[in-house]
Symmetry: C2
Subunit: 332 residues, 2 copies
């Protein structure tokens, strides 16, 4: 059965790293049909819309989407697309690779970020000239669904330790947001208990202190939406930046895969961008579609190239995007 | 004119580090009257209330309060006390000191955290068995007041660079919270512009990546309430932990000064706690009450002791709280 994969390069280095990731996907000769679609700043300039309805529909009807990056319009593109694939969890691994300069080389964590609610539910009101409000939303159903995913994730040995017994940490701010994060915390811990998965907890501020002090004490971290955004970006700072981090917006029958980095306007168009994050996002796409062995091979090839292969400028090398991509394909 | 200073030791090591800070304050023979008050877990166990009305009233009527730490009841104590002193800004310096092991020894930043609203405004509702909401509040008036304070802070040379022209950075998430953080961002930048103070901005997630990668690019950072909580705790992780960080909850005619650390139950009661954060909080209290020269002397004495004086266990030494305090007083 053919899997339809929508490919959105977007803006800036998205136009360079996404083709690299597609090249890696194509090298497997799987039954994939790639369909190109447009979104982002350039699309807005050309059509008046950052995310044309056509693109939204293509993504919603596909089996998976590979997305690059968008500039100013990032939120207008990425938030609706997460909805289009019906994503309930954003999976964000942050791992320091041998051979790459990292503030904390022992970092190896995976954030499982709630992907539908919190402050992202987006009910905002301008109540007066002085006052605006935002309604933050937390449901038991979304919290439990995330927790079920986390339990399965850990049980399948997909956590950093690869150990079905490693458990997870819930990060929240339930001491202040007692009703909303209180609900989140309670439901996530209850599901872990029901499934027999070990779970401990941290206040998100304490977690922000402790992660840089000793990342080795954490593995899988389960968070509300904004907490997952900020804390996973913090982890990115410990492994050397956003350049290497992939992410998966996982839905029930669809998924959106994207590097965590942005458009990097300073180097865009020069063919010098690091394709690693996009290629690792493609590995997550492969695994999501059931090609677990192929996903693992991509990951291994990337690690091997990072260790002793050609490197782009951000990692102190001078190789081009194409050279790094060729090296990855070569080592698959 | 006598300044009335309420002293709340609270729980755990609060009972050890607050007396140390009072000893430092007393060494100046200023016209201070110290009034002891109770709050925290032990108070709750004894009286049924973590924050007795009597303590609240004493704090509200005082000129300043020195607070230690509270355990489980921290939020029940500290949030109302911030209100009692009518605090609109939480000032949180995070500085790496020579002689102290820090992940990023070049860190020297000050967070100015909005202290009254955001998700802390605390309107939460349980709308159904499945759904809870929290109303996040942002006003132009609070945002502008914070920004005015930030401009004055910088202009007075109180930023890390001590340079009236250093400007500040606003950290926010206005790409998602467009109306609320949009209002915050707009008002803060507008005030900076009116006052002729340089201001740039960062999305709070990007800031969480960039701060560990290169803290030297930041000085004064202006944030909404929860962003300031998490990002300042992140900075704590870069300077070696919460053990050294003071904070000031600044109000119009009152202030609440507290170490950022908690009760440290593992070492409480042994006389081994590091008094540095409490003593530096006392230095902020001195400055707030107009004793700028004395505040500076405390800071210098603390830095000198950190560099080559006795150290407590958290810094790899074996000195007692009393020994460190005596050394600080000695070098004043
Ligand atoms: C672009 C923005 C809306 C987005 C988010 O906040 O989720 C980004 O920061 C991310 O983490 O993918
Ligand atoms: C105890 C808690 C309510 C408090 C806060 O969130 O403000 C603490 O984390 C702090 O930063 O002082």
């Amino acid at each position: 059965m053919t899997d339809e994969i929508v490919v959105i390069e977007g803006d800036g280095i998205g136009r360079e790293v996404v083709p690299a990731a597609v090249e890696v996907l194509e090298s497997f000769e799987l039954d994939f049909e790639f369909v190109a679609a447009e979104a982002g700043d350039a699309t807005k300039a050309a059509t008046g819309e950052a995310l044309p309805a056509e693109t939204y529909d293509l993504v919603a009807d596909a089996d998976a989407t590979l997305f690059g990056a968008a500039g100013e319009t990032a939120a207008d593109v990425i938030l609706p697309l997460r909805e289009a694939v019906d994503s309930f969890v954003n999976v964000r691994p942050a791992k320091a690779y041998p051979g790459v300069d990292a503030l904390r080389p022992e970092t190896d964590v995976v954030f499982l970020r709630e992907n539908t609610e919190g402050v992202y539910a987006g009910h905002e009101d301008r109540l007066s000239d002085d006052l605006s409000t935002l309604t933050r939303v937390v449901t038991s159903s979304a919290s439990r669904e995330l927790a079920e995913y986390a339990c399965e994730f850990v049980r399948d040995g997909r956590g950093p330790a690869g150990d079905p017994d490693e458990g997870f940490t819930v990060a929240h701010k339930a001491n202040v947001m007692r009703e909303t994060d209180g609900r989140f915390r309670e439901e996530v811990l209850a599901v872990a208990d029901e499934r027999g998965v070990d779970a401990d907890e941290e206040l998100m501020d304490a977690f922000a202190t402790k992660l840089p002090l000793d990342p080795s004490q954490y593995g899988v971290i389960v968070c509300p939406n904004l907490a997952g955004d900020v804390l996973s970006d913090l982890a990115a700072g410990l492994v050397g930046g956003l350049g290497l981090l992939p992410s998966a917006n996982v839905g029930h029958e669809n998924g959106l895969f994207e590097p965590v980095h942005g458009t990097a306007p300073d180097i865009a168009g020069e063919g010098m961008a690091n394709p690693t994050a996009a290629v690792l996002s493609a590995a997550m796409l492969l695994e999501y579609l059931g090609h677990v062995e192929e996903g693992g091979r991509v990951r291994d090839a990337v690690e091997s190239v990072l260790a002793d292969g050609p490197r782009t400028g951000d990692l102190g090398g001078s190789a081009t995007t194409d050279e790094v991509t060729a090296a990855i394909v070569d080592r698959l």
